[in-house]
Amino acid sequence: MANLIQNEMMKLLARKRIQVVGIIVAVLVLLFTYAQYKQVEEQREKLGTTDWRASLQQQIIDIQNRLGSSRMSDDWREQLQVSLKQQQYYLDHNINPTEPGAPSFVRMFVENSSDLFIPLLVMIIASDLVSSEHSLGSIKLLLTRPVKRWRILLSKYITLLLAISAIIAMVGVLAYLLSGIVFGYKGLNTPVITGFTVEGGNLDTSQVRLLAQWKFLLMDFGLVWFVAVVVGTLAFMLSVLIRSTAAGMGVTLAALISGAILSNMVSSWESAKYLFMVNLKLTNYLNGVAPPIEGMTLLSSMTVLFVWWAAALVVSFVVFTKQDVY
């Protein structure tokens, strides 16, 4: 088995997929770092002060003013109210929600890329793990070896898991190193507030506690990793089912993008919560952001994702072992 995995890993590295992913991440991190830097700069200019409390206070006042306008959907109003209360809580407890520094940037970056960007990166690897063997014709060589088919597929799947782990780490390391050039590397130990819960549009602060930022980051990465594994497994299944890599990628891409759009408009379509695409933002639960559909919790989202994952895995193995190869 170890040899099979080594073999798959070698193919992966030789195809330079991971390297391409690394370059994409680096470019995006640089872009976001610059954007963030500009934003900080502009705010400083506008307020004439570097005091984060003053700028947070100003954000709170701005939200309060926006809430005063009558033309606003109820969902949006509820979301604003929750974030208003959260910011007020940070301010009242004298904790900076956006402590400048690379760790805060990493957190922001990972949380914002968990539902689209990282799944896309994973898709690049997962989509052609099996289908490329078909298109290259090497699948026959592989299957004529005296190894059971399920073992071959398992080695491919484990390689996928390893690649996902490496990609997540790459995102973290690159984001930390590159943004640190601008923001500095400090802030791994600054306290972060966690434990906000949102119920019926109300923010519950009774479970609130402080956590060092690096712990919070590890949790964030764990959740993002899980999401990436689920999306990766789905793309892997499509790679088994559809022999054309491009078609498999297209389907995954459509699903991911529709998820990103749906999350903004599904609040009245309750059964949409069983779709995997709207459950990808697990990190929002740690931050106390209201879920896209009322009643969704971390556990329910994870269960939905788990069911999709298990189904995709079963389908992949059953189809691969029974499939005719020609």
Partner: protein, 267 residues
Amino acid sequence: MIILRRNTVKIVTILSVILGVLWLSGFGWAIQDYYSGNSMGGIESKAAKPMQKKDKQELTIVALGDSLTRGTGDETGKGYVGLVTDDIKKRFKNRVTLHNLGINGQTSTELQKQVKQNEVQRQLASADTILITIGGNDLFQGGQTLMDFDPNSIGKIQAEFINNLTSILTDIRKANRNATIFYLGLYNPFIELENGSDTSKVVREWNDQSERVSAAFPKTVFVPTFDIFQLSVNDYLYTDNFHPNKQGYQLIAERVAPLIKWEEKQQ
């Protein structure tokens, strides 16, 4: 070459395995912490350090209140607060920091709560000049009060407002003893409607009482605005017939700005 490659592959594989275990444990920890994380029974709040000024010559203005402070109706978005700040920048040529905490539709009850917040108190403490507009939403309630025109209920609203105003000014003075407070009176946006003289009477009475309250506090200046809008109210009101327009704000600013004196910085 091939041997080197094989080693690289091995290293990458092993590293990935370690990372995978790390992320898996992070995942497990996140669930465990989310569902059974022990709350410390809320977190204690630490008091913030007082604000630091870049240089001693810096002037800090804190503006509190309702939509007039916000500048609603002025298409440039400045409002009288922005215009006053511009004027001070021009006259004194030094750094001016403005904290505009005005909220559209804010009533005196809400402002009374706002000035009790830690951060607001901290900003007030650093202020040299404090500008306030409040009461319009208490009295007019979007025009409802004066349409119904029930002297009894107006009396009740007024008594409550006076209470709130006293509490607001007390809190501000507690936070900052030296800053000059400029408290702007109300004007009557309904002066040209049928019962204009009745409503004006109510607004005058309101202003009269508020001025008396403010007189009890040191370094507190009541700035009337009633007369500005008395004769040609429609020229100075925005299309909503309630908020001042650009010209209206300009006139208010021209009244307030000269009152802000440089000398107070020397103390």
